[in-house]
Symmetry: C2
Subunit: 194 residues, 2 copies
């Protein structure tokens, strides 16, 4: 056996979308609007599940976007949040995004994180999480959140990570429904992580 090499390619539509996007998103709503638009474009371009995410600095500067690539990349760990965190770390050149708490960054997610992404957030060095749709909205169309603690918001807060929920929830849910109505793949039968 030779050693494996893993390359994560993001879809081409992302290139032109990013070229046309602002670099700074001033408000919480603008940032959430951007990640919801990522989720929508991911559905329309059939490049993955209906989930988008992004890391922003304290001024609202986009550090890195993320989209769900499970199906298109054939890799179950590539949820939108994981892609955004890995891409942000690459852009910043460090695995600890907040640089030992000296700098503040937030991850925005079009839907609340599953158990895996919930577990990944504290290791990433972001100091805040902002969510659109609720986990129950994803469950309603057949996705599974995994075994996430009931008090997951508190668990993040205790680690110094703020959580804001229900930002543009209705708009985020509309993309989930569009995906479901479109007959989108609920990957991993029996275990529909999102």
């Amino acid at each position: 056996m030779t050693k494996p090499g893993i390359t994560i390619d993001l879809p081409d539509w992302l290139e032109s979308f990013l070229a046309d996007s602002p670099r700074i998103f001033s408000t919480t709503a603008e940032r959430m609007g951007f990640v919801i638009e990522l989720s929508r474009l991911n559905v329309r371009n059939r490049s993955g599940g209906p989930f988008g995410a992004a890391v922003f600095d304290v001024d609202g500067r986009l550090v890195a976007p993320g989209i769900n690539l499970v199906e298109s990349a054939g890799c179950s760990i590539l949820h939108a949040e994981m892609v955004a965190l890995a891409a942000a770390q690459k852009a910043l050149g460090r695995y600890d995004i907040g640089d030992a708490g000296r700098l503040k960054y937030e991850i925005y997610a079009s839907t609340e994180p599953c158990a895996m992404c919930f577990g990944a957030i504290p290791w990433s060095g972001v100091s805040g999480l902002v969510c659109g749709a609720r986990g129950e909205d994803a469950r309603e169309i057949g996705f599974d959140e995994g075994s996430k603690p009931d008090d997951w918001v508190l668990a993040l807060n205790r680690r110094g990570i703020s959580v804001e929920r229900d930002v543009l929830r209705a708009a985020a849910v509309a993309v989930l429904r569009e995906y479901a109505e479109d007959g989108g793949v609920l990957y991993n039968p029996g275990n529909h992580g999102h």
Copy 2:
């Protein structure tokens, strides 16, 4: 901004180690011995944290190895289990390793999974997890498991994933201690995920 591209490079020592390794590991102890050796070589070669993992098929054939690459790759999601799962999915050409439950594969981990890797396992399609050192052994040298449910074994069992613990635990712990005594980096200050 141009779209991010993410490449995960595994260290060169892995190439020669894999070339010299058998393709089939007949017993549980041989498979665990292999992932503990991965963790030891990762420490000795200073290519990451003291953690190894691998996916095996039902005959003990090695599908993919994984090592912790957080520090060397500058990416907090690259725990040994995540690397092994992603590499196995690449090798098999599908994001659902077990192909909708038709095939049985196990992931071996030199230390019990943190909250992120615990959350990732059900999405991967493996049907079993075999662990060496306990989470508390990693905590003892300063690593953090994250907010993993107390009943994490039961939570995996309920999803049809078997869990076997304490396989060659002493040998796995010895590598953790070697790393600690060597002054290995406890990455992400305040949040030492493993």
